[in-house]
């Protein structure tokens, strides 16, 4: 056990090691393979993986760096493991959740039954910055609003998974899932085979099918699908290019598209070609300067009118952010009950909505133990982590909350689970989350895998890449005996 000598779980739930300090039964082959390596060899493998990412140009630009410095998104070669029984529950829970969220969005932009029945406060929904009145009465093809989701899950001290965020707008990170896997397979190939890790490599086939299914017109002709990117300076540009390449469809910028007679057209060497589906990786507010932000240089003037007329599909549909508002998130279990008549399979993290005055009072009194978040910010911005805050910061946040309670929610500080990670001082536990990806096409598909983000800084709870986070491969284990077909597809 050389590499794991002295490994401590420190009372946290550990993804690979049990409370007794021994490997969890399903992870034993992996830990055995890691321990068969000398610490030096392990570091060499870590370095080799990083070098590979660098060579492949899987990098993001550092904002504000004039020299155009590029960094790899830090990758830790020790994977996290999700046993198959746990995965079955997560898979069912995520399908349930997406189905309900999609019904909720459709309801909000049509009859608003859920508001009339007072399940969710009307004022809360209609006051959301993510509620787009321009989407009232619209029905996207086949009624699907959220084609692509990356739900953030966390595991608490109790070992249970919770949904932390739904990410229904433009979730990113899937390319890391696929690339991490490609590298990981070479790193611990023995354990990979014995543990029957489920394949993720067919994601792009599913993505293509999902987009094709969403096409507005049914013709014999292949629909023209494009990926719309803000451009090479966007931190997720690599992912946009990767997905377009893997699907074999054009990667376009706003200026590559034009609107003619309410149709979206591609500026090609041939002249104009009609586009059927736009997988847009641009936020709603930048999508169409004629409808949303007038100063947007990234979008396509007039694209909303094409969408409104049913001439083009936008994936995800504009307006889905309404269900992403962190205050509205608090009501997802009620939505599931309301639309599906079921109890939520994966629970929410308990959430205090500051626009409710009683809850607000509680939050302000207990700032020291809570995590406060602005309802519309992500990436770890606009957050207060109570236990790690100074009294000045708490005072400032209390002021902000009082001034605009609608803008804040609070949650108990979670003791996120940890997973063994390579650090300068050997293998140590670091906090992780888990983001599986869900596609809503002909049916709802959950990719058996996902992005495990890891807070590389000791004791840190913030896993975002913009705040010093890295990633790990996530091994979802199959219950079926491994067969040759699976290995090839992995």
């Amino acid at each position: 056990m050389e590499n794991f000598d002295g490994y401590q779980t420190h009372g946290f739930y550990d993804e690979l090691v049990g409370p007794d300090g021994k490997p969890r039964p399903v992870t034993a082959p992996l830990l055995k393979q890691i321990n068969a390596l000398s610490p030096k060899e392990l570091r060499a493998r870590q370095k080799a993986a990083e070098q590979l990412l660098y060579q492949q140009g899987i990098t993001f630009s550092v904002y504000g760096d004039k020299k155009g410095t590029e960094k790899i998104f830090p990758f830790d070669i020790i994977p996290r493991v999700v046993p198959s029984e746990e995965w079955s529950v997560l898979e069912a829970g995520l399908k349930q959740r997406i189905e309900a969220l999609n019904l909720f969005i459709d309801d909000i932009y049509h009859d608003q039954k859920i508001l009339k029945d007072k399940i969710i406060p009307k004022a809360l929904v209609l006051s959301s910055a993510c509620y787009l009145k321009q989407c009232r009465g619209l029905t996207p093809p086949k009624g699907i609003w959220v084609h692509i989701t990356g739900t953030d899950l966390v595991r608490g001290k109790d070992g249970a998974f919770y949904v932390l965020e739904d990410n229904l707008r433009c979730p990113s990170g899937i390319s890391y899932v696929l690339q991490n896997r490609a590298i990981q397979k070479r790193t611990f190939s023995n354990a990979f085979e014995t543990m029957k890790v489920r394949p993720v490599s067919n994601y792009c086939d599913h993505l293509y099918d999902t987009l094709r299914h969403a096409s507005p017109v049914v013709t014999q002709k292949k629909p023209i699908i494009v990926v719309l990117t803000p451009g090479i300076y966007n931190s997720a540009y690599y992912e946009h290019a990767y997905l377009a390449q893997q699907m074999g469809v054009p990667l376009v910028e706003g200026s590559d598209l034009a609107v003619i007679d309410d149709h979206v057209m591609l500026r090609s060497t041939k002249g104009f070609e009609k586009v059927d589906v736009v997988y847009r990786r641009i936020d709603d507010e930048f999508l169409d300067p004629k409808v949303f932000r007038k100063d947007s240089m990234l979008g396509v003037p007039g694209i909303m009118e094409c969408y409104r007329k049913g001439n083009v599909t936008l994936a995800n549909a504009p307006g889905t952010g309404i269900a992403d508002d962190k205050a509205i998130y608090a009501y997802v279990p009620q939505m599931i009950k309301y639309y599906l008549g079921q109890d939520a399979i994966i629970p929410n993290v308990p959430t205090y909505v500051c626009s409710e005055s009683k809850q607000c009072d509680y939050v302000i009194k207990n700032l020291k133990s809570l995590v406060v978040k602005a309802v519309n910010l992500s990436g770890g911005y606009g957050m207060l982590i109570g236990p790690f805050s100074t009294s000045a910061e708490r005072k400032e946040f209390a002021g902000r909350i009082r001034k605009n309670p609608r803008n804040y929610i609070a949650q108990p500080t979670l003791a996120l689970s940890r997973s063994p990670t390579i650090t300068k001082g050997g293998i140590e536990g670091r906090h992780v989350d888990f983001r599986p990806y869900i596609l809503y096409g002909e049916s709802i598909f959950v990719l058996p895998g996902g992005l495990t983000r890891v807070a590389l800084v000791k004791d840190s709870l913030v896993v975002n890449s913009s705040q010093g986070g890295g990633s790990k491969d996530s091994w979802v284990l199959g219950s079926e005996p491994s067969n040759i077909k699976d290995i090839h597809r992995a």
Binding site: G57, A241, P250, L251, D256, R267, T269, K270
Partner: protein, 312 residues
Amino acid sequence: MLSRVANSIYWMSRYLERADNVARFINVNVHLTLDLGMEGNNTQWHPLVVTSGDEADFTKRYGKPTEKSVIRFLTFDEKNPNSILSCINYVRENARTVREAIPSDMWEKINELYHLVQRHSRKQRITNLQEFYTHIRLSTHLFTGFFEDIMSREEGWHFARVGKMIERADKTARFLDVKYFTLLPNPEYVDSPYDAVQWGAVLKSVNAFEMYRKQFHRLNYKDVAQFLIFDPLFPRSLMHCMQAAERSLRAICTSIELSSPAQAEMIKLQAMLAGTTIDTILTGGLHEFIDIFQFNLNVVDQAIYKSFFARA
């Protein structure tokens, strides 16, 4: 295909060919100074600056050409848009914007080359010149290998090919021009060993030395010019480049079911080459001929821009 993508592929390919040619020129010149026993004598470096077409900029910022300053200007000078560093930056920038349109292997080669040049540039000093330039050339060959072996002959491939051929013809023409220009005024050199070494260097600069020997056996300026302008079978001759570019333009027009002024201009240029002889050219002046050739090459380039990239 997308006009922007076609444009980027075309320029990616042109800049890579340009970088490759600059590396080749410098490497040959390093050898040449050794062959001629001219180490420390800087006269041999002046023509390189002239060839680059950026003499004015060079003189303004560096003064008299020396081995050190020329190498720096042509290799690592960020302000020189045609230095190897700048070219490779453009190649990568273009490749990055069309990453989904080219095979990953090609992208990875470019990325690797970019990091290599960046690394050396930061050092500001090349310990082993020859190794460095050879490395650049090998990288571009690997890229070309992928380009030839794994990329479908669709529009993108043809745009890259047109870019490469136009750039190559331009470089071969320039090199011929400058060498001819600088060598001719020295009658005492004609047929001397010095003369042979110089013309040998011209051929080596475009990797034509051995292929030329098979045809003409002896070094002679008229035959060298004949070979580099007219030989339809040598892949760096003007004639060959124009034919290959024309074939690709034709393929592009067929695939998009349109005729284009670019193709017409290319056919005109090819006809001009085919309609003349080396004697006519030398009588009228090689320099004048190359001037006209390059002017027409620019006309083709502009027509390509208007026909395909500025569409819609």
